[in-house]
């Protein structure tokens, strides 16, 4: 499909450049995408993550060709695809509600795209078998979609989209209709499927756990804008702004004033007077106000008489199976979440009402410069 790839962006499977999408009249309509730029590499498992309504589906539909852009450009392996209708794009989609053809058998569903591409009959039969084996549904080939469970339908949708061997596979929250057990199993399956086939996956979800466990890279989106792009570690450990820190995983956000800036580290003054060393997410200037993000698992509770950064009273203790979560009330009324591993630290747990000191593991606090 892409003979001439002398373009600098040829390495990108999909390049989205400054894409804006407004539904309805340009000035008063709903702005679903407000200038999104992305480079999605070949063979990458790329995830679009963000809360409901942030524009994930819209972006996916633009790549698939179901929506046009208001402005901006989209490239597939270096070729602009703006004028290609969906049926001419070497891209397949796994729809959120599967959209299986109800009057066709599972095998006919999977064969649909292959027939349209005019593969010879024998080739189609072979590829359908392969695709169904890949998702372990070989024995269901003759059934109708209505005779399958939700998880099986989901896998038929996957097989149907994989059978034509697209260059890029788009998946719009394909796991959201499944129960927790199946969802966890499918995560592993999807990931290994992507590695086996070498197809570029663009995966949409609002479930951060899903995103963190499967993706090579993640784009966190909010209100039609990309907030941060990076690996799961980048995004979890080095959130670029308050939205990302808050949206990904659990975190404590503390109001601080920047005291002084040393390269790579800033001293921040907490509201109750404590001084905390944090890594800034961008340029920080002394005297400005900001937020420090600290993950609950990076905090340690100590008896009140020992030296600590903050003092508080345990409000509640929540058992989360492998972890214990303490909700600690600070003097100013705000609440801090502290997580300890249940197995190792059972004896160190504090009960509700206990006075405690809170320490921060060095190097784990992050100053968010918005």
């Amino acid at each position: 499909m892409n003979a001439e790839t002398g373009n600098p962006s040829a390495a990108a499977a999909v390049e989205v450049r400054e894409v804006e999408k407004v539904f309805g009249p340009p000035t008063t309509g709903a702005r679903a995408l407000a200038g999104v730029s992305l480079n999605i590499l070949d063979n990458e498992f790329f995830t679009l993550l963000g809360p409901s309504g942030c524009g994930k589906t819209t972006l996916l539909r633009i790549i698939a060709g179901f929506e046009t852009v208001t402005s901006g450009r989209v490239f597939l392996f270096g070729d602009e695809i703006e004028d290609l209708p969906p049926n001419k794009r070497p891209v397949n989609t796994v729809f959120q509600q599967y959209a299986l053809f109800p009057h066709m058998s599972v095998a006919e569903n999977v064969a649909f795209g292959l027939h349209r591409l005019r593969h010879p009959k024998a080739e189609v039969a072979k590829r359908v078998d392969e695709a169904l084996d890949l998702v372990q549904l070989g024995e269901f080939a003759a059934r109708r979609p209505s005779q399958l469970s939700g998880g099986q339908q989901q896998r038929v949708a996957l097989a149907r989209a994989l059978a034509p061997r697209p260059k890029v596979l788009l998946l719009d929250e394909p796991l959201s209709a499944l129960d927790l057990k199946l969802r966890q199993a499918m995560r592993v399956e999807l990931k290994s499927l992507q590695e086996e086939t070498g197809i570029t996956f663009i995966f949409v979800t609002h479930d951060q756990e899903e995103a963190l466990t499967m993706s090579d890279r993640i784009a966190v989106m909010s209100r039609g804008e990309v907030q941060q792009i990076g690996t799961a570690h980048d995004i979890y450990d080095r959130p670029r702004n308050r939205f990302v820190a808050d949206f990904i995983g659990e975190t404590n956000l503390l109001d601080v004033t920047v005291e002084n800036v040393d390269d790579g580290s800033v001293a921040c003054r907490l509201q109750d007077g404590g001084l905390l060393q944090a890594t800034p997410s961008g340029e920080a200037a002394a005297g400005t106000a900001g937020h420090v993000s600290i993950r609950p698992e990076q905090l340690v509770l100590v008896p009140p008489q020992e030296p600590a950064l903050m003092q508080g009273v345990v409000d509640r203790l929540i058992y989360l199976g492998t972890d214990n979560q303490h909700l600690v009330q600070l003097a100013d009324g705000s609440e801090i979440r502290v997580r300890t591993q249940a197995a190792q630290q059972a004896e160190k747990d504090f009960a509700p009402g206990d006075k405690v000191g809170i320490r921060v593991n060095p190097g784990t606090a992050r100053l968010l410069v918005d």
Binding site: F66, T93, H103, F112, G113, R144, Q147, R160
Partner: protein, 310 residues
């Protein structure tokens, strides 16, 4: 439905429930008995009676009506019976006319229904309302108006002549074309409405999925949309075909004597002193039997398809 009595413990409860249900269903049974089975039975009985000369019947059993319909025994009734083509030809013509009318209604009705069903929800009702407006006027008046429109000195011919497109008027009244026009116009909404209902329920994500899998618009229409809305199309075809087959207003007023259809044949048997009630009843019974056999065969084939498909 039958599952209610299958569990042993709930037997008395469910039979009590069944009794109540039967009572509650009584009004519909009575309605069906009086308004549907009653007339058909009456018709069946009359078709086996003897003709009375000034209309009406004599209560004597006779197969004369069916004999008259199917067999020709010569002018004095003493020749060996031959198959009688006069009435069968009328039936054949009626079937052809009704089939063509159904195809025309489908050709125009499907795009119309699709168009309405794909409008924003707020304007759909307006379109449907517009479709039904002409049907607030009596069918007879609409058919007569049609005749005025298309006759030799009617507005259509006059305009075409005044614009110089025609030299002499096109003869439209008393042609098959006029009958088609009348049938098409009378029954179009019966095609549009069920198809509309089916397309409105159609999940357009299926069309997107087809496009995603490299199908162009026509392939998507043939392989995905049409199969999905098939029940609506079949319902529409039946609703147009059956009344077209028995229609007598359009053939009578627009088709004239040459374009006789079943409806006119039957109507004549019950009109005035020249009529023949048992023969009219027999004609109706023959038609009913043909339609029932056709529907039965179709249903059996559908059932076979459904079994074969899964």
């Amino acid at each position: 439905m039958a599952g209610g009595v299958s569990s042993s413990g709930g037997h008395s409860v469910s039979s009590a429930y069944a009794a109540v249900r039967n009572w509650l269903l009584a009004p519909s049974w009575i309605t069906i008995a009086i308004f549907m089975l009653g007339p058909v039975l009456l018709m069946a009985v009359y078709s086996f009676l003897t003709k009375e000369f000034r209309g009406g019947v004599l209560w004597e059993f006779s197969l004369a009506s069916y004999d008259q319909f199917f067999f020709d025994r010569g002018l004095f009734g003493d020749e060996p019976p031959k198959l009688h083509w006069t009435y069968l030809a009328i039936y054949l013509r009626s079937f052809i006319q009704a089939s063509v009318a159904t195809l025309l209604c489908l050709a125009i009705g499907f795009p119309t229904a699709y168009f309405i069903a794909t409008r924003p929800a707020s304007t759909r009702m307006v379109w449907l309302f517009l479709i039904t407006i002409p049907y607030w006027v009596n069918l007879l008046i609409r058919t007569v108006s049609m005749k005025f429109l298309i006759r030799d000195t009617g507005p259509i011919n006059e305009w075409l002549i005044s614009f110089g497109l025609l030299e002499a008027p096109i003869k439209m009244v008393n042609t098959d074309f006029a009958v088609q026009l009348g049938l098409f116009y009378s029954y179009l909404p019966f095609m549009v409405l069920p198809i509309y209902a089916a397309v409105e329920r159609y999940d357009f994500a299926l069309s997107e999925a087809a496009a995603d899998l490299y199908a162009d618009r026509w392939t998507t229409l043939w392989l995905v949309l049409l199969p999905a809305v098939r029940p609506g199309i079949i319902a529409g075809c039946i609703l147009v075909f059956v009344p077209s087959l028995g229609a007598f207003l359009a053939p009578d007023l627009l088709g004239g004597a040459k374009n006789f259809m079943i409806g006119s044949l039957i109507e004549e048997q019950f009109k005035g002193a020249a009529g023949n009630w048992p023969f009219g009843a027999a004609c109706a019974m023959v038609l009913l039997t043909m339609v029932l056999v056709a529907v039965f065969l179709y249903a059996r084939q559908q059932a076979a398809n459904a079994r074969g498909g899964g």
